[in-house]
């Protein structure tokens, strides 16, 4: 029998994050192109009688399309960019074992660069009172663990009992 350690992060995570990020960037590019095409369509359709209306449609399309692009770039793309950095930092960081009772709270915080985390309360540990758990890993983490591996204050892995040799 040996301790079973569940790793919350792996190199596959980075590939998956990068893939998602590329999809979102492609979506933003598609939204920008569609917006441009719609605006050009309104320009082409303009004549003396409807010019003002077409210009208005053009501006409205451009504004809405631009907002969609901004929203994609500022939210999912940025979140994934920093999630990748966070994952890399965890994978390469110094690991520290922490023992105690862990409770994943509902308190969600955004650390620097907007990466979303859940606070994990720790009881009975010597030096650590709270850790943070990457929001995307919440479902993977067994809150009843008594020992976790922490990197820079984030939970990177946990011990989930024992497994047979």
């Amino acid at each position: 029998m040996k301790k079973k350690t569940v790793e919350l992060y792996s190199q596959d995570d980075i590939a998956a994050i990068e893939k998602k990020r590329r999809i979102w960037i492609a979506a933003a590019a598609a939204a920008a192109l569609i917006t441009l095409a719609v605006c050009v369509y309104f320009c082409i359709r303009a004549n003396t009688l409807n010019a003002e209306r077409m210009l208005l449609y053009c501006i409205i399309s451009s504004v809405i399309g631009g907002w969609i692009v901004i929203s994609i770039l500022r939210f999912p793309v940025y979140d994934l960019k920093y999630a990748k950095r966070h994952t890399m930092a965890i994978l390469t960081g110094e690991r520290e074992e922490v023992r105690g009772d862990f409770t994943v709270t509902d308190e969600r915080v955004r650390i620097i660069n907007g990466v979303s985390m859940y606070k994990v309360a720790v009881d009975g540990a010597e030096r650590v009172r709270s850790l943070q758990l990457f929001a995307d890993k919440k479902e993977l983490f067994d809150g009843s663990a008594h020992s976790v591996i922490s990197v820079h204050g984030f939970i990177a892995a946990y011990e989930a009992g024992y497994e047979n040799d």
Binding site: C43, A46, A51, M54, L55, I59, V63
Partner: protein, 189 residues
């Protein structure tokens, strides 16, 4: 709540984009839909009011060869519009404006009729509104009199810019589109 907060944190970007869109598209749209001076006849007026869009559409129903659009510009006090009269081909001006802008007007090589604006024996303006009788050319599109204003009402004349590139043989222009459009205006009640 968290989502709204995040969106609000980007509010300045959304507002900035809306402003940029409005300015850029107003500029680009005008550039795309406008025609070069060679393919455009411009009518400028300082009459109290003109239905610019409907008049443009009416005049564009039958365009002279090589002309893509007719632009009707109305006098405003806007600074960027200050050069509009010099860029126009046809000018519909009040009597005082004709006197003021006489140096930029082309003499019209035809016999003047009663009431037309003649200076030094040359015809410079064809009367389009007679204040005394109230008879008006193109009255459906132009309002020639002020109802309440400190500006006195005047006669109005149709004139041609001597630098127009649409005056045909008058000044050696390649085409006579301004004359065709002017004829159309003069024929409209």
């Amino acid at each position: 709540m968290r989502t709204i907060k995040r969106i609000l944190s980007q509010l300045h970007r959304y507002v900035l984009w809306a402003l940029i869109s409005a300015v850029v598209w107003a500029f680009v749209f005008t550039r795309i839909t406008d025609a070069s001076p060679k393919r455009k006849v411009t009518v400028y007026t300082d009459a109290p009011a003109v239905s610019e869009i409907t008049l443009e559409a009416k005049l564009e129903e039958e365009l002279p060869d090589g002309i893509k659009m007719v632009k009707v510009r109305h006098f405003t006090y806007a600074a960027f519009n200050s050069d509009a009269p010099s860029e126009a081909d046809i000018l519909i001006l009040s009597e005082s404006s004709v006197k003021e802008h006489l140096d930029m007007l082309s003499p019209i090589p035809r016999d003047p009729r009663e009431g037309d604006y003649v200076e030094g024996g040359s015809l410079y303006g064809i009367k389009v509104f007679d204040l005394a009788s109230g008879s008006a050319v193109c009255g459906e599109y132009f309002t020639y009199t002020y109802i309440v204003s400190e500006t006195p009402n005047q006669n109005y004349y149709l004139c041609f810019n001597k630098d127009s590139i649409h005056l045909g043989g008058w000044n050696g222009s390649a085409d006579d589109a301004a004359l065709i459009i002017a004829e159309k205006i003069l024929s409209m009640k």
